[in-house]
Every structure is written in C-alpha cells, then in structure tokens.
Symmetry: C2
Subunit: 232 residues, 2 copies
Amino acid sequence: MRLLIVSTSSIHGKPYLTYLKDEVISFFAGKNLIFIPYARPGGITWDEYTAKASERFTEWGFNMRGLHTFENPIQALKEADGVFTGGGNTFVLVKTLYDLGLMDPLREAVQNGLPYMGSSAGSNLTGLTVRTTNDMPIVYPPSFDALALVPFNINPHYLDPIPDSTHMGETRETRINEFHHFNEQPVIGLREGSWLRREGESLELKGPLPARLFRKDAAPIERQPGDWSDLL
Amino acid sequence: MRLLIVSTSSIHGKPYLTYLKDEVISFFAGKNLIFIPYARPGGITWDEYTAKASERFTEWGFNMRGLHTFENPIQALKEADGVFTGGGNTFVLVKTLYDLGLMDPLREAVQNGLPYMGSSAGSNLTGLTVRTTNDMPIVYPPSFDALALVPFNINPHYLDPIPDSTHMGETRETRINEFHHFNEQPVIGLREGSWLRREGESLELKGPLPARLFRKDAAPIERQPGDWSDLL
C-alpha cells in the first residue's frame, strides 16, 4: 500500500501545495491522477475544486481529472494510476463517498496498490474513523467509519495549546483525550507542514516538525520525523 | 417556553458558573432542579459531573439531582421543576439522550413549560440540529437533530478570527458559511459571556457582548444585547 497523508494543503505564506512539490513528484512519478473533490472547501463546486488542484498538478507535469467526471467512477478507480483527495469538510466528503457507493471501491483500489494522497479531510479518510476530525458536522453521514488504510486515526492541523489564551473551548489535546474515553486506537496529531508516507510496511514522518502521538491511558508523546513503522 | 441558552459555563478567571449567579437565581427561583450530566466534559462520570454542578447550585439555595439517579427518568422529567444540561461533548450528550430514549420526553417537557437551562453542549441541544457544534465527533449519534426549541442553531464559544494567526484551519465564520451551503436555518454565534433568555414569545440577548447572526446567502451581522424576539 502506498499513502501520502498530509496535514494541510497549504502552509502559511506559500501557494497551494507548493511546499510539497518534491514529495508529490517523487510519490506520483509518471502517473495519471484522479482528483476527489467531494470535501468542497468553502462550499465550492466539484468542478471549481478540481480546476484548482489540476492547475498545480498540471504545472508539475501530471494529467489530472475529477472523479465526478467519469461515467463509471468505480471503474475509473480500478483503472487509475493515482488518486488525490483534497481537504475541506470531512463530513461532506464522507457522506458523498457513502452516498455514491464509492467508499468500498476506493478502499479496495488503494489496498490493491493505487497510490493515495490525502490532505486534511483527505487524510482523516485514511484513518480507522473520522472521529478525530476538527471539522463542523454540517451534514450527517451514514457512518463515521473511514478507509482504515492505517491502524490509527489522524488529527490534521494539529494545534498546540495557545499560551495565555482566555478562550474556554477545549484544547485539541483535551478533545483527543476525550476521544480516548470512548475509542481505543492511537491518534497521530499531525502539525501543519508534516506528512506521513507509507510504502508497504514502512511508515515515515516527514517535514520539519515532530508529531504528537496519543494512546489510550498513556501520556501523549512527541516523536521526531523518521521511521514510524512500529505504528503499522 | 422558558429557556436559558448559555455560551459557556465558565468565563476566563472566574469559578464555574459564578458569572451567571443572578441570572440563574432569577430564572429558576424556588425550583427543584434536575441536572443532565451526559455530555461528560473530560470524560468524567455522570456522578462526578452532577457533584460539580450540584455544589454550585446548592450554594445558591437550590436542590439538584442527576437525571441518571432516577429509576424512571421520563417520569422525573414530567414532574421536574427545572432542568440544567451541562456542557462537554455534544456528540456524547446527543447519543446518550437518544440511546436512553430521552430526547422526545425532554422536548415535550420543555414545550409543556419545564424551564430549561443549557450551557455549551447543552445550548447546542436547544437548536434545530447540533450541526454547528465545535466539538469533536468522538461517538456516532443516531441523528444530529436536536430539541428544536428555537428556530435556529447555536454556535457556542463563538470565536472571532485571531489576528495574524498563521494556522490554516478554517475560522469559525468560514465553518458556519460552509454550514449554510447545506442548511437553511440562521445560526447565532454566541460569544463567551453571552446568553439568550427565552420567555414565551420573547427572546433576549444578555451579557456584555454583541452576538453574530449568520443567515444563508447574507453577510453576517453583529447585533447588540437586547430584544431578539424577531428570531422566534
């Protein structure tokens, strides 16, 4: 299985995806790509979102086409070379995939070797469930189960507590601790600028920052970029 | 119908609920109260949470008992004088109420005159749905439909964009705008320190701050404390 699990499509001050250029080119080398636009950031249409992603990927020498433009998207996933699921709202993404009957075909295609890249909501999708998303539940999906391509959950855009904040909303760490009152699996808090790359049984944390690993009934730990294959 | 819809149980630097003392005493004067502890902040037990709330309400001269301690909670709601639903995780709260068959009996009791106070997750519950909660979806409830005691949704702990933030996660306003791509009802962004009081057909915004009103296909507006009865 080949995965690129990215915390955020953009880091502050840099255009969409550009900070990932070398990684994406090495990951998808020579592939024709399908874009999954269903997370609809800001409510933009599937066509608008596909145009945005395609512009960047075309600049990098790839062909890219939106999954929604295929007459038979299930067949398209079977025949695809690579797939990228963009960020946006995780609930909208998951509900759309279930409604269109695409969750199982997508999982099978990736398990059979289709390289999968996701950012933000598209990264939540690789985990066991989307129960550690930061998004607002603006639609009701038929399940919170995700693709389960890794044996843990992702929390993208992981945010450390803000010093001296007077806001009384829960910190991200508090939320993930509450998750562990009701769920067993580890959660990787992936900071903006970090990503995971899975190649078969190898898992690597990449980017300049450590990530935060939360396990049930244990104190969270900071782990540096490098080999994280023990999580698989 | 009588409602107290509170953004947060605590404001920065003040002990639990204390900033609301006068309002709560005026709202519940002379009542024996039931506490609904199901939102379990930080995963604490129903007993622990009830003890925390009861301590404050007892100090103010009320009797308070956890809903979970009644052999017949549906009967208890029918006979209650007043009810307070504490904050915590909205998904846990809603799932528990559905699982225990208490959502409809609670709605009916409040519609029949039972004074209802909610803070944070307990405020989300008064809206049409919980689709504008800020909470992490750590459990999967059978529905996102809420008590529908008001014809709008609440976004508690409403947070203005943080100036100069480099974080790429969506602002609260962006999230609520995305909500309006898929939902029709107005959303009231209730800042910490604000609350709404409904008395029959009168609705008042109280506390020192304006609240932010979001309507589909319209720019959000700031409205001052005072009469908001036009929202009913």
